[in-house]
Point group: C2
Chain length 701, copies 2
C-alpha cells in the first residue's frame, strides 16, 4: 500500500500534449504540488510534455516503476494492465470510468481487468475514481487541474465519490483545515475502504480520518478497525433514503432500517457519524483543541449582542455558564474602568479594546476550576489590526494547550479578512456563533467517547439449551417454513426468557379444556405457517372469560383464517392465561446485511406506533450497552419509576435483552425475531414474553 501513497517512480498512462487532455492535468498537478519522486508520461502518440518525453508504452520506460496511474478509455485498460504486469508494476490507480456502472459491455472489460491484475498480483485503487493526494510528498494525481489550494495538515480522507471528495477539500481549504492524505476509492474493485482505513490508522502522518461512503461493504470489519483505532474516525454515510424505503415485514424491521443500524453500529465502535459538511468542519476544528471535559463554559465577548446569542447557543447545545466566584470578578474588575460593565458570565468586554488585557482575562478565566472551556467572541472594530488579531488568536490557542482546556474563537469580520487570518494561523477560527458551540459539543462528546472506548466491555454468556433450538431451526428449514408460534415461544424458553406458558389445542373442545386448566380469562392465538400479521386477520383473541367464549372464538378464528389464507396450514391454537398489569415493550432483532445481528427494544403500544420510540444495538452487547438501551428509550422514565410511581423490573428486562443478543449471535439463521409484546412487571416481578415470531432466512437451494 506504501506504493499507492508514497511511490518513488510513477507512470501516468494516458498523457498527450493536447491542452484538453486529462492525463496532462495529472502530470502538471504532480509538478505543481512538488512531488518528490520521478514521473513518466505514457501515451500512444508519444510527444513531449513540460520538457519531458511521453513514452508510447510503459514497456518503453527505461527504469523501474512503482505505480501506474491510468486514465485511458476503459476498453484499453486490460491491455495496458497486461503491459504494466510485464513491466513489473505491482500497484495502480485506475481513474478511468466505464466499467460495471456502464452496463454489460463495461462488465466484460471489468472481468478482463480482474483477470490480468490477478495474474500479476497487481493491487489497485479504483476504477472510476479521481485518485490520490499525499501532502507529505506532493503526490497529487486527480485529473482535474489543481493548484496547491489546501494546506498540509493532519486530516486524511477516503472518499467513495471523487466529486464529493473534492468538494470536501474545497470546504476544508476555505476553513483553513490541513490535509494529510486523500484517496478517492471509486468502484473499490480491488482495494476497498476498509483496507484503506487500516492503512491510514497505521499511517504516521494521519491524526484524524474522514471517510465518505455511499455503501458499506463489510460493517463488522469496519467496526473492528474502528474499535482498535486510537485516531478519531468520522464517516459521512449517504444513500440513506433509498435504503429506508425497503418494505418492512415486522415492527422490528420497520424500526431498525439499515440506516438506524449504521447509526448505532458507528456509535458502538466509536465512529462519529457526519451528515453534512458544516458539522465535519466543526469537528475537524474541534479536534485541534484540547478535550472539553465538562459542560461549564465561560463566554467572553467583544459585543454585547454576540454575548447574548452565545448564551442562547450555550444553553441550546446543553452546556452551562460557569459561575464566576466573587474573588475572580474582583480580579478581572481591575482590567476594567470602574462601574462600567456588569461582570458576569457571559462577560461583555464593552468598549475595552486591549488585546493584552483580553489575553490576561482569558488566562485568569481558564485558571478557574469551575470553567471547563472558554468561548471568545471577537468582533472587528474600526480598522481591525489583523496582525494583532492573528497574534491574539495564536496566543489564545497556546493558553488552551497550557491549561489543557479548549478556547474556541469566533471572529466576525468580512470574508476576505477571515481568509487572511486563516492563512496566518493554524488555530481554528469559527465564524458562526452557534457552530462554535456545536463544535465544542463535538469536542465534549469526543472526549466522552474516548473515555468509554477505554472501558473494557464484557459480553455475558448464559447457559442455554442451544442444541434444542438448533434442532427446531433445522427442522423448520428442512420444511421450508418459519418457526410456528409454539416453537418460537419454546425457543425463548430455552434461552431463559420467561414466557406465558400456554397450552396447544387443535379443536374447540381441547381449547376449552386448556382454558379451564389455565384459569380464565385466557388469550387464544392461531398457530399457522405463513401468516405474518395474525392479529390483522383475527388470529388473536384476548380476554376470553368462559368456556363458551373460548369455543366460539375457536370456531370464529379458524373460519376467518381459512377465509384470509385458504392455503395456510393451520396447526391449531395456543391458549394462554391473560397477563395482568405491567407495561408492554417490544424486544426483537434481525440480521443486518452489513453489520450482522441487531437487537431492538421499544416501548409498546401507542408509544411505538405514534412516537416510533425504539433503540438498537449490534449484537453481541454488553450489560452496560443493554442498560444504555433502556435508558435512552424516550419515555423510559416511566419504567424507572418517574414521579413517584413504582419502578419496574429493569434487571429482568436487561437479562432478556442480553439473552436475545446471545440467541441472535448463536443463530444467524434467524432473519427476524419479534417479541411483541414483552410485558414488564414491577420490581422483582420479572417480565414475560406474551407473543413471539421467528422468521428464518431462506437457505440457498
Amino acid at each position: 500500500m506504501q506504493n499507492i501513497f508514497d511511490p518513488h517512480s510513477v507512470a501516468v498512462v494516458g498523457v498527450s500534449p493536447n491542452p484538453d487532455n486529462l492525463g496532462r492535468n495529472i502530470m502538471l498537478n504532480l509538478i505543481d504540488f512538488g512531488f518528490d519522486g520521478i514521473v513518466y508520461g505514457v501515451g500512444p502518440k508519444g510527444g513531449a510534455i513540460a520538457t519531458r518525453r511521453i513514452y508510447k508504452s510503459v514497456l518503453d520506460i527505461p527504469d523501474h516503476v512503482d505505480l501506474a496511474v491510468i486514465l485511458i478509455p476503459a476498453r484499453f485498460v486490460p491491455e495496458v494492465m497486461e503491459e504494466c504486469g510485464q513491466k513489473g508494476i505491482r500497484h495502480a490507480i485506475i481513474e478511468t470510468a466505464g466499467f460495471r456502472e456502464y452496463g454489460e459491455a463495461g462488465r466484460k472489460i471489468e472481468d478482463q481487468l480482474v483477470a490480468v491484475t490477478k495474474k500479476y498480483d497487481i493491487r489497485f485503487v479504483g476504477p472510476n475514481c479521481i485518485g490520490v493526494i499525499n501532502m507529505e510528498n506532493g503526490f497529487c494525481v486527480p485529473f482535474p487541474r489543481l493548484r496547491p489550494f489546501i494546506r498540509a495538515g493532519e486530516v486524511s480522507i477516503i472518499s467513495q465519490s471523487g466529486g464529493v471528495g473534492l468538494a470536501i477539500l474545497n470546504h476544508m481549504s476555505g476553513e483553513g483545515i490541513g490535509l494529510n492524505k486523500f484517496v478517492s476509492a471509486g468502484n473499490m474493485l480491488n482495494i476497498d475502504a476498509e483496507e484503506l482505513l487500516a492503512y491510514l490508522i497505521a499511517d504516521e502522518g494521519t491524526r484524524v480520518i474522514f471517510i465518505y461512503l455511499e455503501s458499506i461493504r463489510n460493517g463488522r470489519r469496519l467496526m473492528e478497525l474502528a474499535r482498535a483505532s486510537t485516531k478519531p474516525i468520522m464517516i459521512f454515510k449517504s444513500n440513506i433514503g433509498q435504503m429506508g424505503r425497503s418494505i418492512a415485514a415486522s415492527h422490528t424491521a420497520s424500526l431498525s432500517n439499515d440506516d438506524r443500524v449504521v447509526d448505532t453500529a458507528f456509535r458502538q465502535c466509536g465512529i462519529t457519524r457526519i451528515h453534512d459538511v458544516t458539522t465535519l468542519s466543526n469537528y475537524l476544528k474541534t479536534l485541534k483543541l484540547p478535550p472539553l471535559k465538562g459542560k461549564r463554559l465561560a463566554i467572553i465577548s467583544r459585543s454585547g449582542g454576540h454575548a447574548i446569542i452565545a448564551a442562547d447557543a450555550c444553553e441550546q447545545v446543553g452546556f452551562e455558564l460557569a459561575e464566576f466566584p466573587e474573588q475572580f470578578i474582583r480580579e478581572i474588575e481591575k482590567h476594567f474602568r470602574a462601574s462600567v460593565i456588569k461582570l458576569t458570565n457571559p462577560l461583555d468586554l464593552g468598549d475595552l479594546f486591549d488585546l493584552e488585557v483580553y489575553y490576561r482575562i482569558v488566562d485568569d478565566t481558564l485558571k478557574q476550576e469551575n470553567v471547563d472551556g472558554v468561548v471568545f467572541l471577537h468582533t472587528s472594530v474600526a480598522q481591525t489590526d489583523f496582525e494583532m488579531t492573528s497574534i491574539l488568536v495564536n496566543r489564545l490557542g497556546e493558553l488552551g494547550r497550557t491549561h489543557n482546556k479548549p478556547v474556541a474563537v469566533y471572529i466576525s469580520a468580512n470574508a476576505e479578512d477571515i481568509s487572511r487570518l486563516r492563512a496566518q494561523t493554524d488555530f481554528p477560527v469559527f465564524t458562526h456563533v452557534v457552530e462554535t458551540f456545536r463544535g465544542l459539543k463535538l469536542d465534549y462528546e469526543h472526549a466522552l467517547l474516548a473515555e468509554k472506548a477505554d472501558a473494557l466491555e464484557v459480553i455475558p454468556e448464559f447457559s442455554v439449551d442451544k442444541a434444542a433450538v438448533a434442532d427446531m431451526i433445522k427442522t423448520a428449514q428442512s420444511e421450508n417454513r418459519d418457526l410456528l408460534l409454539d416453537e418460537a415461544v419454546d425457543v425463548l424458553e430455552r434461552y431463559g426468557i420467561p414466557t406465558v406458558r400456554g397450552l396447544k389445542a387443535t379443536n374447540a373442545t381441547e381449547a376449552q379444556q386448556a382454558a379451564e386448566n389455565l384459569g380464565f380469562p385466557v388469550a387464544m392465538k392461531i398457530i399457522a405457517e405463513h401468516i405474518s400479521h395474525k392479529s390483522d386477520v383475527g388470529g388473536v383473541q384476548l380476554n376470553l372469560r368462559n368456556g363458551r367464549d373460548v369455543a366460539d372464538a375457536y370456531a370464529d378464528m379458524i373460519r376467518r383464517i381459512r377465509a384470509a389464507y385458504p392455503d395456510a396450514g393451520i396447526d391449531g391454537v395456543l391458549v394462554q392465561p391473560m397477563a395482568v398489569g405491567g407495561r408492554e415493550l417490544i424486544l426483537g432483532g434481525r440480521q443486518d446485511r452489513q453489520f450482522g445481528p441487531v437487537v431492538l427494544l421499544g416501548l409498546g403500544g401507542i408509544f411505538v406506533e405514534i412516537f416510533e420510540q425504539a433503540t438498537l444495538r449490534v449484537a453481541p452487547i454488553s450489560a452496560a450497552e443493554a442498560r444504555a438501551m433502556v435508558e435512552e428509550l424516550h419515555g423510559a422514565q416511566i419504567l424507572m419509576g418517574a414521579r413517584g410511581s413504582k419502578r419496574f423490573d429493569i434487571e429482568a428486562l436487561l437479562d432478556a435483552i442480553l439473552r436475545i443478543s446471545q440467541l441472535l449471535v448463536d443463530f444467524p439463521q434467524i432473519e427476524e425475531l419479534d417479541v411483541n409484546p414483552l410485558r414488564i412487571f414491577h420490581e422483582n416481578e420479572g417480565c414475560s414474553a406474551l407473543d413471539a415470531r421467528i422468521i428464518l432466512g431462506r437457505q440457498p437451494a
Copy 2:
C-alpha cells in the same frame, strides 16, 4: 423618519482630525460610500478633515441641517442636543453609549436627554447604537471604518445590537446578498423597532425585512404591523435562555414560556423566525427565487456522489423526487451518448460537459408539470471556466423566472472562485447541499404562509354571561385572592364550557349527602385560597365508593390541608361524580407581558409530563387556528381515531378552545387559567372540565 435614512444635510458631531477619532470614521465612511447629501463635521477643537472645516458647534453651521449624528461622551450629549434644538435640527442618530446601561449616573444623563429632545420635539435613533446605512444614497454613519463591502440590494435590516448587525452584514456580503437599508436601533429611547419596521414596510426600496431583537417591547403592535405587511419579515429573536428560566407556577406557565409565545406569535402573523445566520442566508437567497408551490423536485447533478447526498437531503427536509415520465426521459436521452447513464431523478450528468446542454435539460425539466422546482448541482472540473459558469448560473435564474419555478444552484469550488462568481451574478449560489434544500424548504413554507395570510380569519364570538364573571373577579380582587375552585368552575360554565357539576360541602355529613345525591363513585376536592397544587397536599381524592369513604376522606383532607397550610382559609370541598372514559387534555391560558392573552392545549397525563406535548396561540384565535392547534399536537392521531380506534369529539374540544380564548381576551385580569384535566369523550359525547384554577393578576395598590 425620512430624515433619518435620507437626509439632505448632515452634521456629524464629535469629529477631530485625530486618526483614532471615531467621528472621523463616520465622515470618511460617508465620503467612501458616496453619500449624495452635504456633510458638516463638528468638534470642539475645530480644525479640518478631508479638506473640510470642522465647526466648533452645530450653531456655527451656516446652512440648514436635517440630521445630527452624535458620537461624543455621554455627559456632553444633552448640551449638544440643546444646541441642535436651537439650530432647528429635528432628527438625530445618537451613537454614544453610557446611558441607562451604565448605572445611575448614566440614567441621570438620559433623563436630561429625554427632556431636551421633548422640548424641541427631536426624534432620534439610539443611543448606544452604530447608526444607519442606506445603500440607495450612500448614507453610511456607523463609527467603525467601513469600505463599501456590501452590494446594494433589496434587504433592509433593523438590529438592536450594532455588533450583531455588522456581523450579519459581513455574512450577507460573503454570500453575495445585497443590502438596502441598515439601522442599529440601540437603546430605542425614542424611535423603536416597531416604528422602524413600519417605515421599512412602507419604504419603496425595501423588499425584504430582517430584524435582530434581544427583547420585544410591544408584541401586539409587532403582530399588527407584520399582519399588514406584504413584504417578508424575518426576525432573529435572541435572549431565549434567560427568559425560559423564569419559575413556572402552573402547567400552563411551564409549557408556555415566553419564548414559545414568541414562536407562535410570529407564526400567527407571518413573521419568519430565524435562529442562526446560516438560515438567514438561506432565506435571503431563497426569496430571490420564484415561489416553490409543491414538494416535487428534480435533482440534476454533475457528480454522482452529490446526486446521492442531494437525494438524501431532499427526503430529509420532506420533499419528494418527481418521477420523470417515459417520454421526457426519451427527450433528454438525446443529449446523452447512448446507454451510458441511467436517466432517473436524481439525474447524474456523468461526464457530459456542455453548458448549453445543461441549460436545455433544465429547461425541459421545468416544463414538466409534475416538477415544482429544480436543484442543479454544479461541480468544477479541471480548469473551470468561470465566465461560462457565471453565464450558465444567470441563464438558469432566467429559466426559473420564465417558468415561475425555482432553480436552486449549488456550486462546489474553492472559496476564491465562489467569491468571484458571486461578484459576477446577482443570482443566489448555495455551497452546501443540505442548505440548498433547506433554502427551498423555506421558499416552500414562505409560499404557504403568503397563501395563508391572504385567507380571511374570522374570530367567533359566543354569547356568554360576561357580567357574572366580571362580578366574581371583582369580588375576588377586592378580597385580594384568586378565584376559588367552585368559582373557577362557575366561570367556565358561564362561558359555555361543560364542567362536571359538583356540590359544595362544608362538613363530612354534607359531603356524604352530596355524594349520595350525585351517585357513587365521586371525587372530592378542597376549596381553599392560596393552595396552588392541591393534589400534592392531599386536596384531591378520587374514586370514593361509599358514604363512609367520603366521610373519612373529608376528615383526612381537612387535617392534611391544615397541617400543610395552617393559614389557608378552607371554604369546604367540592364533591363531583367521577368521570368515566375519555382522554385527558390540558387546556389553559395566561397573560403574556409582550403579546397579551395566550391559549395552551396539551395532551394530559404522561404525554404532557414526559413528552411536553403542548401547543399555543396568541388569543383571540380563529376556528382554523384552533383546529391547527389540535392537529399539531404530537400524538393527536389518538384523538382523530388513529389505527381504527374511535374518533373523539374534536368539535366539542374546538368549541372549548375558542371559548377559553374569548374568556382570556375579555378578562386581562386573568393572569393564569388551567383546566387540568379537560376530559374529551368519543364523537358526539362532548368534553368536560374536571378541574379548574384561575389565578388573578395583582391589582396595583
